[in-house]
Amino acid sequence: MSLNEFWDYLVLGVVLGSIYAVIAIGYTLVYGVLQLINFAHSEVFMLGAYGGLISLTIIAPGDSPSALASVGYVALGLAAGGLFGAVTAYGLEKVAYRPLRRRGAPRLIFLITAIGASFFLYNLAGKLFGRDPLPMPDAYENKKVFTLFGADLNVTQLLLLGAAVVMMIGLDLMVNRTKLGSGIRAVSQDAEVAGLMGVDIDKVISRTFVIGGVLGGAAGYLYGTFTQVKFDMGFIPGITAFAAAVVGGIGNIRGAMLGGMMLGVVETLTVPVFGGEWRHVGAFVVLIGVLMFRPTGILGERVGRTA
């Protein structure tokens, strides 16, 4: 692998990693407030991609839209993806989580319900929109913008990276600065006491799902422009992002960002070294390796919490 190639792959890896990071935030947020893995988050991501696809198919950008129009189309795609993701996540919480939470069901039951819901959603999407992959309509001309260390950066890569970074900064500010954010932090530290202090737990949990859904759905649109849209596209990014959340330390938002970046880079660098067909193996090897030496993840430190 020449140095030029290395930079090319590194840029790709960082771009992919930023998407994983945004999805991983969805897992980690829900884990924070519920101590549960939302296995159906990958379907939130997938439906977000369909949201972007549907909105851009209706609006139908022409062959070479002007710069201003391109910005509008991308914003529309992101908004539609976020909306679809939010609605899906909200519905999931209502149907698959809330009745069980009311009853205080064991954790195993939650996981199985989430798997069932995930199964239902992706097969439903396959039924509604067909089971073949679809390209995302182009919202802009994908051309080279500039060269960095010999790696060409094009519009898609910059868009993905920029949108992901903006979303991550926005989320970080929201969690640390707003009232809802302090509600989320309170519920993840101790739900019972937060309830006694006047935090409406149901509302916080429901909104946490919605926030995770917006991020997941928008990431779905971005990933769709990067690759293709398909009904089972959520599975691999979903489990990779989950692995990223665990690697970074589950429940820790900055950990999820770090883990996502790391797994994205590892996955992409696997391609030139071992070949493209092995790319998904790399992430899991890293996951098992990290768990062996640091069971709470890289930034996970709250050891004393019983979950």
Binding site: L108, L111, G116, F119, E277
Partner: protein, 452 residues
């Protein structure tokens, strides 16, 4: 002026605070939920979409009569529950609350009080399994041997892991694949030649050993961690096994798979292309394993699993080596899966990596959950019903939609009857106790002493 007066009046102010907007009233909220359900139902029963026109399916569903039927049905259910009254909902409510009213539960109570009847039923079931398949058509015999029996065997193995030890294993079929590839390797059906070519019966212990080692290698680092990490690690392991099977062309034959795997043979008798000999072989394996596992369940090991499941902290405090017993359950499950793999490989004679996709792991999990975690008759019933159902549905709905219904069934089952069709009594009680805040009913919480 009058508005000012009313605001100053404390009673009126309190009433204003208490007032709930019309759309927040429970009844209206329930109507909204039912309407949403109606819309989802419309999408579920609509036509197949296609990628040329992604709006085709939605358009036909929402402009046709289906929408009105489904939404009307949902609203009718809502109206009956809200207005027609106390009588209907009370009858339904008490039936659900009692739980005894279900015929399954009544039969079980009867069997518990009449042990002779239970044995009679077991003998009858065995006789039925031995002789009834002769009356089936060839197609159903194939379904019975290739799917029902194989998956029942897998479900019995997964039951040890999830039903007894309470561990969520999402990569169970990976061990099935390991078993099948072991069979192909040791009988010389893979591109790589084995050191010695073995008879199929001799492959079984070798495959069991291989799966045992694979299970321990995978379980040892992860079983010490938080329980739900196991789910993702097993899922990842499954993906790795699948990718290796697909891409390591030199060893596994790649996506072409393994072909011409020899049939079982012993003392000059060969299990040929007929289905029934394999059926008897599988029934024998299943019966032997059931006897072994039932003995295991009531042994010290089984009691340790129960203790871990019900309260891991208390179990560890009483001297149960939780990691060791969890690892044992994981490895026993894996090796059962390996046996199933060997028999399956030899029965079908040809397989490729697509036989071991992640879907199959989820399906086996669904069989165990549906039938009733922790109960052997339960998982047999679960596997039989859920394998049979998609085959029957083939005639009524689009085959590619079957798994959508399966997912919906899993969700509904977990919400209304988490213990499954035929649960073990102990498991049923545990779930109920966990809902009241006593114990765990699974080994998914923070482990004791295993943290670094």
């Amino acid at each position: 002026m009058s508005a000012d007066v009313s605001v100053k009046d404390p009673a009126a102010r309190a009433a204003r605070l208490r007032r709930v907007a019309w759309y927040q009233q429970p009844r209206v909220k329930r109507l909204g939920a039912m309407l949403a359900l109606g819309v989802v139902l419309t999408m579920m029963v609509g036509e197949q979409g296609n990628t040329r026109d992604i709006f085709y399916s939605l358009e036909t569903s929402f402009t046709g009569v289906n929408l009105w039927v489904c939404v009307g049905l949902a609203v009718a259910i809502w109206a009956v529950r809200e207005f027609a009254g106390a009588s209907v909902s009370k009858a339904a409510g008490s039936a659900v609350a009692a739980g005894r009213a279900l015929p399954v539960d009544r039969v079980r109570t009867l069997l518990r009080t009449q042990p002779k009847l239970k044995w009679a039923l077991v003998v009858a079931g065995l006789l039925l399994a031995l002789f009834a398949p002769y009356n089936l058509t060839g197609y159903w015999q194939t379904v019975l041997v290739d799917q029902v029996a194989t998956y029942a065997l897998l479900a019995i193995g997964l039951n040890v892991v999830i039903g007894w030890a309470g561990l969520l294993d999402l990569g169970f079929v990976a061990f099935f694949a390991v078993g099948a590839y072991s069979a192909a390797f040791w009988t010389g059906a893979l591109p790589v030649d084995p050191p010695v070519v073995l008879n199929n019966f001799l492959v079984i212990p070798v495959a069991v050993l291989t799966c045992l080692i694979a299970g321990v290698l995978l379980g040892a680092p992860t079983l010490r961690l938080r329980g739900d990490y196991l789910a993702i690690v097993t899922l990842g392991f499954h993906e790795i096994v699948y990718i290796v099977a697909k891409n390591a062309d030199g060893f596994t034959g790649g996506s072409a798979g393994a072909r011409q795997i020899p049939k079982f043979s012993a003392f000059g008798y060969e299990w040929g292309l007929e289905r029934m000999p394999y059926w008897y072989l599988l029934v024998t394996v299943i019966v032997v394993l059931i006897i072994v596992f039932v003995r295991l369940e009531h042994s010290r090991v089984g009691r340790a699993w129960t203790a871990i499941r019900e309260d891991e902290v208390a179990a560890a405090a009483n001297g149960v080596d939780t990691v060791r017993f969890k690892l044992m359950a994981f490895a026993i499950g894996a090796s059962t899966s390996g046996i199933a793999g060997v028999v399956y490989a030899s029965k079908v004679g040809y397989f490729n990596p697509e036989n071991f996709v992640i879907l199959n792991s989820i399906l086996v999990l669904a069989y165990v959950i549906f039938g009733g975690m922790g109960s052997i008759p339960g998982v047999l019933i679960g596997a039989a019903i859920l394998v049979w159902l998609p085959e029957v549905l083939r005639d009524y709905v689009d085959p590619s939609d079957r798994y959508m219904y399966l997912g919906a069934l899993l969700v509904v089952m977990m919400i209304y009857r988490p213990q499954g069709v035929w649960p073990s009594r102990r498991r049923q009680r545990e779930l109920k106790m966990a809902e009241e805040g006593l114990g765990d009913a699974d080994a998914m919480s923070e482990p004791v002493g295993g943290k670094v």
